[in-house]
């Protein structure tokens, strides 16, 4: 039983005194029901590419870019990295100049098929070396740290016509809403564990009473709108996702890792046609101040294997043309390794864009190891140019509306209009 709040509102006048007093989500629901009856028109933009999905993979903690896409032909890399450096003969050569860490062998397979775009030297001016400040910059796409909504949250806010979609935004495998997807009423669902993502003991009377409570008194509390919207998302998304997951029969074996499990759930939702516009998964642990030689390869392997299975799965379901994957991390790491077998916080690092929509290859300029900025790599591509590429060419949204007035020209790495 999927209770539609809109239907509920139509059929009940309790606690809904006037149109103007409704929280935003209600107003929209009512407004769109008016649209349907032909008495009102709206200028809300709808997505020109309703079938497309962006999947964001956050590598939290600051992934060491130098040991991910390795400049194995540059002797300075070996000078700086002592025993943390990956020997040239082990590196998976991409273009004779840089290569992938050997644990990224599955990524290399994608590269060989032209499905992997690497943007080198991505960063931003006045790099922050704080995890949280730098994440905030990436997530809000605002260098000044003034904005309190994520860039994809702002995208959602501009986007309308999602009433038919059960899961416009879906974050899997984490406990909090990803900040890049957050906005006051962004339609994000967060699923930590698919097996637990169902309401226990739910029945119609109780659910209806609960909706009255959420639509009513919580208007007067600071978190009222958040709680309202979230309850609606609970009802809508849990049933839809359970159904999609039940019908999902994948032939692809995913690695038994938390990232593998998360991407599998995301795949079930995408293949099940739940209207996912933005999917989000996270892997943490990249803050390798020590023992990097053990820890980073495990994490990179987890990323590589899970993404490879995800791609194969989408391809088997003939959905691969509709899904673009982007990875990011809040910063790279210090060029010179520290004394504890690790690396401290750094600056520029590469990003991966992956899937059938990309034109495989290496983009952007490789940061110069001879010209460091206080021991750190200088960025050569602003991350907002990557966002702009995705917004304009993949999501069909206005990058100015989301990123602000400063113009970032798209990078020609997508094989789409």
């Amino acid at each position: 039983m999927l209770i539609s709040r809109r239907n509920f509102l139509k059929s009940s006048a309790v606690l809904v005194p006037t149109f103007a007093s409704l929280p935003l989500v209600f107003r929209r629901a009512v407004a769109s029901s008016i649209v349907e009856s032909g008495t009102h028109t709206t200028a809300y933009p709808t997505s020109p590419y309703p079938d497309r999905t962006l999947v964001v993979l956050q590598m939290a903690g600051g992934n060491d870019g130098l040991n991910t896409v390795i400049p194995f032909t540059d002797s300075r890399y070996y000078d700086h990295r002592s025993y943390l450096a990956v020997p040239g003969e082990d590196v998976l050569d991409l273009d004779g100049e840089v290569g992938l860490h050997p644990v990224l062998d599955k990524m290399k397979l994608l590269w060989d098929e032209g499905l992997l775009a690497i943007v080198q030297g991505v960063g931003y001016p006045n790099q922050s070396y704080s995890h949280f400040e730098s994440m905030h910059v990436w997530q809000t796409a605002d260098n000044d740290g003034n904005l309190n909504e994520g860039w994809l949250g702002r995208y959602f806010r501009e986007l309308e016509g999602m009433e038919g979609s059960a899961l416009p935004g879906l974050a899997v495998g984490r406990r909090t809403t990803p900040y890049e997807c957050s906005a006051v009423d962004a339609p994000m669902s967060v699923v930590q564990n698919i097996n637990r993502y169902r309401l226990a003991g739910s029945n119609k009377q109780r659910s209806e009473a609960l909706m009255k409570l959420y639509g009513g008194s919580s208007l007067t509390t600071p978190y009222g709108v958040l709680l309202d919207n979230t309850l609606e998302s609970v009802y809508k998304s849990s049933e839809a996702l359970q159904n999609a997951n039940k019908n999902y029969k994948s032939q692809i074996e995913y690695p038994d890792t938390s990232l593998g499990k998360s991407l599998k759930v995301l795949s079930a939702a995408i293949i099940g046609g739940l209207g996912v516009k933005v999917g989000h998964v996270t892997i943490g642990g990249f803050d390798t101040h020590s023992d990097q030689i053990v820890e980073q390869p495990d994490l990179l392997r987890e990323v590589s294997e899970a993404l490879y299975a995800f791609y194969q799965d989408l391809k088997a379901a003939n959905k691969d043309q509709d899904v673009l994957v982007m990875t990011w991390s809040e910063f790279g790491r210090r060029v010179k390794s520290n004394g504890s077998g690790g690396t401290d916080h750094g600056a520029a690092a590469p990003m991966f864009l992956l899937g059938s929509p990309v034109v495989g290859g290496i983009y952007g300029e490789r940061p110069d190891l001879r010209n460091l900025d206080k021991d750190n790599l200088r960025f050569t591509t602003d991350f907002r140019a990557v966002y702009s590429t995705i917004l304009e060419q993949w999501l069909g949204a206005s990058s100015e509306a989301v990123l602000g007035s400063e113009r970032f020209d798209p990078i020609p790495l997508l094989a789409v209009s």
């Binding site: 003991g201 409570l213 008194s217």
Partner: protein, 575 residues
């Protein structure tokens, strides 16, 4: 707050801390600074809207660098008059006995209040934009409920009644002077679990912590342990098995209200922290910056208040702080004895000096006061509130106890702006629910079944920043798991949640469905519920009983359903 009352509170604090006459003068100066100009006018003048659906005007992204990378001239940290840490005389008055859960006999105040049929104490008009309201909560019972939720983990009706008899002022000092309170009951409950004392799994650690939150007779101490675990955090996934996380938990309990400099120095040498932030591998000529950075960014000063150079110099100062046989050990030949310049102060610093210099920064008092105020009262405190707390902090030798006392006795804490202004954290929701209902439980798997799925894996935060804050607690997954927890409680499986609501209602002389609703609203929501919302509860219960609105219709299943609705309500998610 009247000036005289405020000053009395100061003097009382001062007397407890054994302050010198000189320090008292500083107290009084701080008092008069705060009291003039009128605090209320300036507080009223800054209504900060927390939920802001309209985009803020953008600043051009390229305009300003966030942190100027060049060094700025720093104010030389001036030493505040210090109280010697040992000069905290115990309160000599007779130890307070914890209110025991004696069953109430006659008459029941709640039944009386339902007779007047006006349970709504805060009469917020039903549909209005929330506006910060700094007027005070007046109803004593509501104030007490608020205090015990914020300074503890909620309370059963019996507890609330006993504390009301004691009065607000004595309750606050009872909470603060927890070392006078016998807490052997919780120790016996923990001992009965027969857990391995030397090597705890995450499951054991979580279970012990939850049992303490539920059954402790020292709620403020446990609340502070949760606070420190969130602020000075470490996590099991990196620290690993062994005694580390439990010892850190005990350290927080021991230092729950200790002066902050002492706590920070103890935490800097705490093995769990030394593993979590890599200080154990921070060596001469091979400094590791992890602890040095987070000491300033997360524990004391906040982001953007120091330079990368300060991070490097602080890291050098902590070199040689190492572990041997799972204990702190100073490895002299790995310590960098050279000169360092940290926050503008040059010297042959070691880690202790770094903490002292950090403590002397004016921003530190603001930072920690703000963290405490937001934890207990509400987010985005007014500048003058922070300034007042910061001056208390500095004038009392960095006393956390003095700041907490000041918060718990402030008008802001008891303002309508503070009431239900916070989302309950998962631990607060779970421990608070069990405590409020007086449930008997061994809390087996409460962590993995309930608290963790709501987004709080105790002893294993996602990263170095500790627990989420405010709205971050709520998303579709965590709200769903809140509802499922409430569903489990409402079913009342005897092995996990042993209580009997039917008998409680009968012994409290409840005669009708409407009275049953009011009983639960008093228990769970301080009876602060708008009429329309109360009507939903009454309508729902009456729908279940199908015409028979007498006490006979109130069986376990129907009451459970009603309880589910009350505890699933948006108001119950707020604390």
């Amino acid at each position: 707050m009247a000036l005289d009352k405020d000053r009395r509170a100061f003097l009382r604090t001062a007397a407890k801390l054994g302050l010198s006459a000189g320090a008292l003068v500083i107290f009084e100066q701080a008092c008069s600074q705060v009291d003039s100009p009128s605090r209320s006018s300036s507080v009223l003048a800054t209504p900060q809207s927390r939920v802001n659906p309209t985009p803020q005007p953008r600043v051009t992204p390229t305009a300003q660098p966030r942190v100027t990378p060049t060094r700025q001239p720093r104010v030389t940290p001036t030493r505040q008059p210090r109280v010697t840490p040992t000069a905290q005389p115990r309160v000599t008055s007779t130890p307070v006995a914890y209110p025991t859960a004696t069953p109430r006999i006659v008459p029941d105040p709640v039944v009386e209040s339902t007779a007047t049929a006006e349970p709504t104490v805060i009469s917020t008009p039903h549909v209005t934009t929330p506006a910060p309201d700094d007027s005070s909560i007046t109803d004593q019972r509501v104030r007490m409920g608020h205090l015990l939720r914020r300074a503890g983990f909620g309370a059963s009706r019996q507890e609330i009644d006993r504390f009301l008899d004691m009065g607000e002022e004595k309750t606050v000092s009872f909470l603060l002077e927890y070392d006078q309170v016998d807490d052997s009951d919780v120790d016996m409950r923990l001992a009965a679990l027969n857990l391995d004392p030397l090597d705890h799994s995450l499951k054991d650690l979580q279970r012990m912590a939850l049992i303490r939150m539920i059954y402790t007779q020292r709620p403020l101490q446990e609340k502070m342990v949760l606070f420190w675990h969130g602020l000075l955090t470490s996590g099991y996934k990196k620290v690993g098995r062994g005694p580390y996380m439990l010892n850190q938990d005990e350290l927080f309990r021991r230092h729950a209200l200790s002066p902050y400099d002492g706590l920070l120095k103890a935490v800097a040498k705490d093995p769990a922290m030394m593993i979590w932030l890599d200080s154990r591998v921070n060596k001469k000529n091979k400094p590791n910056e992890n602890f040095a950075r987070e000491l300033m960014e997360l524990f004391s000063m906040g982001v953007g208040t120091f330079t990368e150079f300060d991070v490097k110099e602080a890291a050098r100062s902590f070199t040689g702080w190492s572990l041997r046989k799972k204990e702190f050990f100073f490895e002299e030949n790995q310590h960098d004895f050279g000169q360092k310049t940290f926050l503008g102060i040059t010297g042959n610093h070691d880690g202790t000096d770094i903490v002292d210099i950090v403590m002397g920064q004016p921003i530190t008092s603001q930072f920690i006061s703000g963290k405490l105020f937001e934890f207990f009262a509400y987010e985005n405190p007014e500048q003058e509130v922070l300034a007042e707390l910061a001056s208390t902090f500095n004038a009392t030798g960095y006393s956390i106890k003095a700041v907490v006392e000041k918060i718990l006795t402030s008008d802001e804490f008891y303002s309508k702006k503070a009431y239900r202004a916070k989302i309950k954290s998962p631990a607060e929701l779970v421990a608070g629910t069990v405590r409020t209902l007086g449930i008997e439980t061994h809390a087996n798997n409460f962590g993995s079944n309930y608290v963790t799925p709501m987004g709080q894996e105790l002893f294993n935060p996602f990263d170095v920043s500790g627990w989420p804050e405010g709205g971050e607690w709520i998303n579709s997954s965590t709200l769903l798991n809140r509802l499922n927890f409430v569903n489990a409680v409402s079913k009342g499986n005897k092995r996990a949640f042993d209580y009997d609501l039917v008998t409680s209602l009968k012994s409290n002389n409840i005669k009708s469905t409407e009275e049953a609703v009011d009983y639960l609203l008093d228990l769970c929501l301080d009876s602060v519920v708008p009429d329309q919302e109360r009507a939903v509860f009454v309508g729902y219960l009456n729908g279940l009983v199908g015409g028979d609105n007498s006490v006979n219709a109130l069986n376990k299943s129907r009451l459970g359903s009603l309880m589910y609705l009350v505890m699933s309500s948006p108001d119950y998610q707020l604390g």
